[in-house]
């Protein structure tokens, strides 16, 4: 059933449709509407779940870990400072191999107190062991949450997944979202049945002291799980398309077959970039766009395959790894090097702190890379 709703509501309905049984969350702008909607859905009996009000994001994730370890499908949502406060327990969830799903509204990190779109929050949690997806529109937010459970709960994956949506550009933007019927969901998403769960009548030792004799193997198992996850994300995407008609993979190529210049983008900028590609094509410029939908596990094979024919590659980052460059730029470069694909690469920082990235901004970015070699990273639109 199609409805007009904002991205926060799309995330909430995603959790409801995925038959989530436990939610613990703490409100923070611009995620607040998720907490409001979910508590309303639970209070009205529309959603058969327990909603815990907690006193911080750290507690929210800790509570989710407890519930998930007891074999219950759980969900939480946060943003910016909230995600950062969760940091310690994010690691705990991942190494504990608990397939929790979290919706993170990408918001800049303070100070310079900011509530606006910026991926610094989630990028800074890159190495927590969470899978990370960046959604382009509200439909993708909703669909990604449903797929997330199927991927994360796969017995050979068992890793938590973070679905990221841009502050305001999705969280507070109303769009048409097609909600899936419960009976169809039940066909797509099996119930969560972990091999181990907290159960007094069947006790196990969870997350015990692990000596150097064993810790390394557990880390290696995380590596294997991330590799498996790449396969699962693709498989589940195909299955989802068969049932519901919408296609999602690790990456999404747009008009790159014959493109000289390829933009590499993520989140809402990817949509605006596709629009920009069409505009530039009308001007006779052979431009394409590669959207990186999944950032962890990083789809290096797909990225290299998509970029192999490009003459120039421009990576647009709405995040910055202080002292170096944008994180997506680093990853793309590293993936290409790993596979021996060498070509001119440009790292462009844009949209930082919620600054609007319009088709005009993206045209400027392409023009920059066409001109004399810009210094990497290049800060687009900074008032110098």
């Amino acid at each position: 059933m199609k409805q007009v709703m904002n991205g926060d509501f799309a995330a909430s309905y995603g959790a409801m449709s995925a038959l989530v049984k436990y939610v613990a969350a703490y409100p923070i702008t611009p995620q607040t509407l998720v907490v409001e909607k979910l508590s309303e859905l639970v209070a009205d009996g529309e959603m058969d779940a327990v909603f815990s009000k907690v006193e911080s994001e750290h507690s929210a994730m800790a509570a989710c870990i407890g519930a998930e370890a007891a074999g219950i499908r759980t969900f939480t949502a946060t943003s910016s400072q909230g995600l950062l406060l969760m940091c310690e327990v994010l690691h705990w969830a991942a190494r504990g191999r608990l397939p929790i799903v979290l919706a993170n509204v990408n918001r800049a990190v303070a100070p310079g107190w900011s509530i606006w779109a910026d991926a610094q929050d989630s990028i800074s949690q890159r190495d927590t062991g969470w899978m990370q997806v960046y959604a382009e529109d509200n439909q993708e937010v909703y669909d990604s949450i449903i797929m997330a459970y199927k991927i994360a709960e796969s017995p050979d994956v068992l890793l938590p997944m973070m679905i990221n949506l841009d502050a305001f550009f999705l969280s507070h933007t109303s769009e048409v979202v097609d909600l899936i019927d419960k009976k169809d969901i039940e066909k797509f998403l099996p119930p969560y049945e972990p091999k181990f769960k907290l159960n007094p009548s069947e006790p196990h030792a969870f997350n015990a002291l692990t000596s150097p004799d064993h810790y390394f193997e557990l880390t290696y198992k995380m590596h294997l799980a991330m590799e498996k996850a790449k396969k699962r994300i693709t498989e589940v995407g195909v299955e989802f398309e068969k049932m519901f008609g919408r296609r999602y993979g690790l990456t999404e190529s747009y008009r790159i077959e014959d493109a000289d210049t390829v933009l590499v983008t993520f989140g809402t900028i990817a949509g605006t970039a596709k629009e920009t590609v069409d505009l530039l094509r009308k001007e006779g410029k052979k431009v394409g766009n590669l959207k990186i939908r999944v950032f962890r596990p990083f789809p290096q094979e797909e990225v290299c395959e998509a970029l192999k024919n490009a003459k120039k590659v421009i990576v647009v980052d709405r995040d910055y790894s202080y002292g170096f460059e944008g994180a997506f730029f680093t990853e793309v470069k590293s993936a290409l090097y790993n596979k021996g694909v060498m070509k001119p690469l440009y790292g462009m920082m844009a949209g930082i702190g919620g600054r609007d990235v319009s088709t005009g901004t993206l045209k400027e970015i392409v023009a920059k890379a066409e001109g004399e070699d810009p210094k990497n990273p290049y800060f687009i639109g900074v008032k110098l």
């Binding site: 091999k195 006790p203 196990h204 969870f206 997350n207 692990t210 064993h214 193997e217 294997l224």
Partner: protein
């Protein structure tokens, strides 16, 4: 499945996906740590349960009188010093 048998973790495929039951204390017997054993005199015991509460292992079962699990008692002596009726005595290990 309970953790009642020793898990051999020799290669990556031996490990479960979750870090659960990797090395259950059930097979990690700590009796070799002990150079004496606590022995409970049922005639002095008043069944207060203090030894059971204080045993850090825990290696005391709350029977009446309590029984010590000598597979896991590591001989710390806490039960001996906490027992209000001095019902538990320190007996040298003769292995």
């Amino acid at each position: 499945m309970t953790d009642d048998k020793k898990v051999e973790l020799n290669k990556v495929s031996d490990y479960p996906e979750m870090p659960v039951s990797l090395g259950s204390m059930l097979w990690n017997k700590t009796s070799s740590w002990r150079n004496f054993k606590p022995v409970i005199d049922g005639t002095k015991c008043i069944g207060c349960g203090i030894c059971w509460k204080f045993c850090p292992e825990p290696a005391i079962f709350p029977t009446n009188p309590p029984t010590v699990d000598y597979d896991f008692c590591k001989g710390c002596g806490i039960c001996i010093s906490e027992c209000p009726t001095k019902a538990i005595s320190k007996v040298d290990e003769t292995r």
